[in-house]
């Protein structure tokens, strides 16, 4: 057995108020795929960020090739041969594939000018590693490529760095089945070349297909380590490690579910085709699918941000069509965006202002900011209290709060509007494990209060655990529907349209 290329020992990292990692040890050897699994918030990203020099560990040691290393900056780790492919691409859409691949280290030719031909040749060489890479034109602007191809470029970028270690953070999230298979082939080739791969995923079949070893993180600690791929059940048990029934709120009973609050028939636009669906009062409907399947597009269509162009929508029995979010909100729809920072919060404003945002938006512009038809400051405070938001004061800037508390402040915004339908997009992304349960119970309370809930999530256990009914999308269509409690396999099957499940 070869010596590990990376060894991390006793890594501990504390953020103010949260112990993100505690005494984590982890290693990866050349020519192996080490799967790193765990729920959202288990500490995977923090561990990777410490490895790549974005964060610095409070305690512990990172060794590369046996030598202790300290990366002060991601560039240093990259130079040392550690490439990280994040879910959020760091590609420049205006630049060509080749330019992106060689960003910051372009090959120079005569007079110190960029040797464009060599850059293109090298790009081509790297792209040839991929089964379909040959179809990508190195001179094409990245912004004109589809998401899957951009993902390829992102991986190619890591490969072109001659990385000895490549970290892939849920690389298949945006890929369809054929593309996934292509990625796996690429991973195999990289492994053959002796590259060490740290592969972060939720999906058991990918682990089974690719991994040599598996490390499971839970709540900032190593929950299990497997030197061979075990049964999926073992991994899941290690990941969740608690009574799911308690973690998620109990599902709705027949009696709790009422009439449909929302129905869509034949809804379609540039991204969506023939959407037929309904959400009933008192029900949490989960919306699953791979990235790019159109889940967010569906939410945005319902919410009037990118409206349906065809089909019919009814809300509480009335036919509606919204051209702006404002019209949707007026009619009784609320939405919690997936990216809190860029879509949800007004960061420089106070917690209370964030909670009051929507009620105020519907009050006359010149009337007092303290009282609106839907809420006043006292009521918002009461709502914030009820959700147990931890803040020094509701007057403080919301940016100082933790993700979970920020999310609750956004929920407060909607509660005062008493919406008939609430759409949650990735409601627990970036929220620590303890706060998650709070959000699930909150959603259930809202449903019991008579609202219909539509929850979009990439976290399969979450969809399975929290939803009463699950819709699975694929390529802009609703591909399948499950009652409460399908398996991850069932959902992935429907989401990718494949017939064979490896796990």
């Amino acid at each position: 057995m070869t010596a590990p290329v990376i060894e991390m020992q006793g890594i501990t990292k504390t953020f103010p108020g949260v112990r993100a990692l505690s005494e984590v040890s982890f290693d990866v050897r050349p020519g192996e795929v080490q799967a790193l699994v765990g729920e959202n918030g288990a500490g995977k990203s923090t561990l990777i960020k410490i490895l790549s020099g974005v964060y610095h560990a409070d305690a512990g040691e990172v060794r590369m090739g046996g030598e202790p290393v300290h990366f002060a900056h991601p560039v240093e780790s990259l130079r040392a041969g550690i490439a990280v492919i994040y879910q959020e691409f760091s590609l420049l859409p205006e630049r060509s594939v080749a330019q992106n691949l060689f960003l910051g280290r372009e090959p120079r030719g005569r007079f110190g000018l960029i040797d464009e031909r060599r850059m293109h040749d090298e790009t081509r060489k790297v792209l040839d590693l991929f089964a379909t890479g040959g179809r990508i034109d190195p001179g094409r602007a990245v912004g004109t490529l589809d998401v899957a191809t951009q993902q390829m470029v992102e991986i190619a970028k890591a490969v072109s760095h001659d990385a000895r270690v490549i970290v892939m953070d849920e690389p298949t999230a945006a890929l369809n089945d054929a593309e996934c298979e292509e990625l796996f082939t690429t991973v195999d080739r990289l492994r053959e070349r002796g590259v060490a791969i740290i592969y972060i995923t939720h999906r058991m079949r990918e682990i089974a297909r690719l991994a040599d070893r598996v490390t499971v993180l839970k709540d900032g600690e190593v929950a299990a380590r497997f030197d061979a791929v075990p049964e999926p059940g073992e991994i899941v048990h290690a990941m969740v490690g608690r009574d799911i029934a308690d973690f998620y709120a109990p599902p709705a009973t027949e009696a709790e579910i009422g009439d449909p609050v929302l129905t869509v028939t034949g809804g379609g636009n540039a991204h969506l085709h023939g959407i037929d669906m309904s959400v009933r009062a008192g029900e949490i409907v989960g919306l699953a699918g791979i990235q790019g399947a159109g889940r967010v597009a569906l939410a945005m269509a319902l919410f009037g941000q990118e409206p349906f162009e065809t089909g019919e929508v009814t809300l509480a029995g009335e036919r509606v069509s919204f051209r702006t979010p404002r019209e949707a909100i007026e009619a009784g729809i609320g939405l919690l965006p997936g990216d809190r920072k860029s879509e949800g919060l007004v960061l420089m404003q106070s917690v209370r202002d964030n909670g009051m945002l929507t009620p105020r938006a519907f009050a006359p512009l010149w009337s007092s900011h303290k009282r609106t038809a839907q809420a006043d400051l006292a009521r918002i405070d009461e709502l914030l209290d009820r959700m147990e938001i931890r803040a020094a004061s509701y007057d403080q800037d919301i940016r100082a709060l933790s993700g979970g508390n920020q999310q609750k402040a956004i929920v407060a915004r909607w509660l005062s509007m008493r919406p008939k339908l609430l759409i949650f997009i990735e409601p627990t992304r970036g929220i620590d494990v303890n706060a998650k349960a709070g959000i699930y119970h909150l959603m259930r309370d809202l449903a019991r209060g008579g609202a219909g809930i539509l929850m979009i999530s990439s976290d399969l256990p979450e969809v399975i655990g929290a939803a009463d009914r699950i819709l699975v999308m694929q390529e802009g269509r609703i591909a399948a529907e499950f009652p409460h409690g399908p398996t991850e396999r069932d959902i992935m099957h429907a989401a990718t349209g494949e017939t064979e499940v490896a796990a």
Binding site: P74, V75, L78, R79, Q87, E88, F89, S90, L91, L92, P93, E94, R95, Q99, L103, G104, R105, E106, R108, G112, L113, I114, E116, A141, G143, T144, L145, D146, V147, A174, A270, H271, Q291, G292, A293, G294, R295, V296, A297, M300, E306, P337, G338, D339, E343, I425, E426, E475, G476
Partner: protein, 328 residues
């Protein structure tokens, strides 16, 4: 990145933004021809006249090339007008009619430009002062220092240096050739050098650029230095053209706001990372053509202003209206 969840239809090969400056330029040229023909002044359609139009806004063109660099890194420079005045005065005072002093004067002017650019860049990237404010402040400082020492044309430019503005090779003015070379060089730098690539990276996504190991601060500073050096070249050109430098020539030409308008009309976005020198050159030509159309058509000078304002807004709207982003 929930936006990534929306299936992106692969866009077609034709990219509107790339061609928009050319479309605008063609439109402006068509209007020029139509006005010349309609008013029965076809003598304005000779080659000689077209060259005169090309050479009309050389100072603006040189400044705008520099401005392109700073706007590409998502900065902006409002100090160019004052700097143009300052370098024109400095050069003409140092030369003071003596051919022997031409070289020292050019060096002094370029040095001043370099220093101002360095200061702008450091304030913007180091102190993180909003570039609009930083360069506006710098503009006031330069203008103040300048007017403290000179209040009129100062010094004079020897005839040998006037070749820069008045010399011709064949039919083509030397300055026009210089502008073309400068544009080609700028294009080459942006297109073929690592520095150029870094500029687009910093303007497009500063975070990504930093992760790729690009020293983003240095790129911003260097862009500001280039911008200011271009402005000082424009100052030298004006000193040569006016035979002397005066502390108001930059402000009179409104080179700060006009150079920004030219760059933006040329399709470079204020947010950075997209655009280029050829668009800027197209923008400059559009400005020259508009001026010429006004002259040919005999538009009243006040109506000119009204039209010019509307044209700037309309030209930028021509690009911007297609975007879905919320702008402020």
């Amino acid at each position: 990145m929930s936006a990534a969840d929306t299936p992106a239809p692969t866009r077609a090969g034709f990219r509107f933004e790339r061609w928009a400056p050319l479309i605008l330029l063609a439109g402006a040229f068509a209007i020029y021809v139509i006005v010349a023909v309609a008013t029965d002044q076809t003598q304005y359609l000779t080659l000689e006249n077209l060259i005169a139009i090309l050479a009309r806004s050389i100072a603006l063109g040189i400044t705008a090339i520099g401005q392109t660099f700073v706007i590409l890194v998502a900065s902006i420079d409002l100090s160019v007008a004052s700097l143009i005045s300052a370098t024109a005065v400095l050069a003409s005072v140092v030369m003071d009619g003596s051919p022997a002093m031409i070289l020292p004067a050019i060096l002094a002017a370029l040095l001043l430009g370099g220093l101002v650019g360095l200061a702008n860049g450091l304030v913007v990237s180091g102190l993180k002062v909003n570039p609009l404010i930083a360069t506006l402040g710098m503009s006031l400082i330069i203008q103040g220092c300048l007017s403290a020492f000179v209040s009129n044309f100062a010094g004079s430019v020897p005839p040998a240096f006037q070749v820069f503005a008045y010399g011709e090779i064949g039919m083509v003015p030397v300055a026009l050739i210089f502008l073309a070379l400068l544009a080609v060089t700028a294009w080459g730098v942006l297109r073929f050098t690592k520095f150029g690539s870094d500029i687009y990276a910093v303007g497009g996504n500063e975070e990504a650029a930093r992760f790729a190991g690009i020293k983003t601060g240095r790129i911003v500073v260097a862009s500001h230095v280039i911008c200011s050096v271009c402005a000082s070249i424009a100052g030298l050109y004006l000193a040569s053209r006016l035979r002397s430098g005066a502390p108001w020539i930059g402000a009179d030409g409104v080179y700060d706001l006009e150079s920004i308008a030219v760059v933006v009309i040329g399709g470079t976005v204020l947010a950075g990372g997209r655009g280029g020198v050829w668009g800027t050159m197209a923008g400059m030509l559009i400005f020259s053509l508009i001026d010429s159309v006004f002259n040919i058509a005999g538009v009243d000078s006040f109506a000119k202003q009204v039209l010019r304002g509307i044209i700037i807004v309309a030209a930028v709207a021509f690009y911007a209206i297609r975007s879905k982003r919320i702008v402020a």
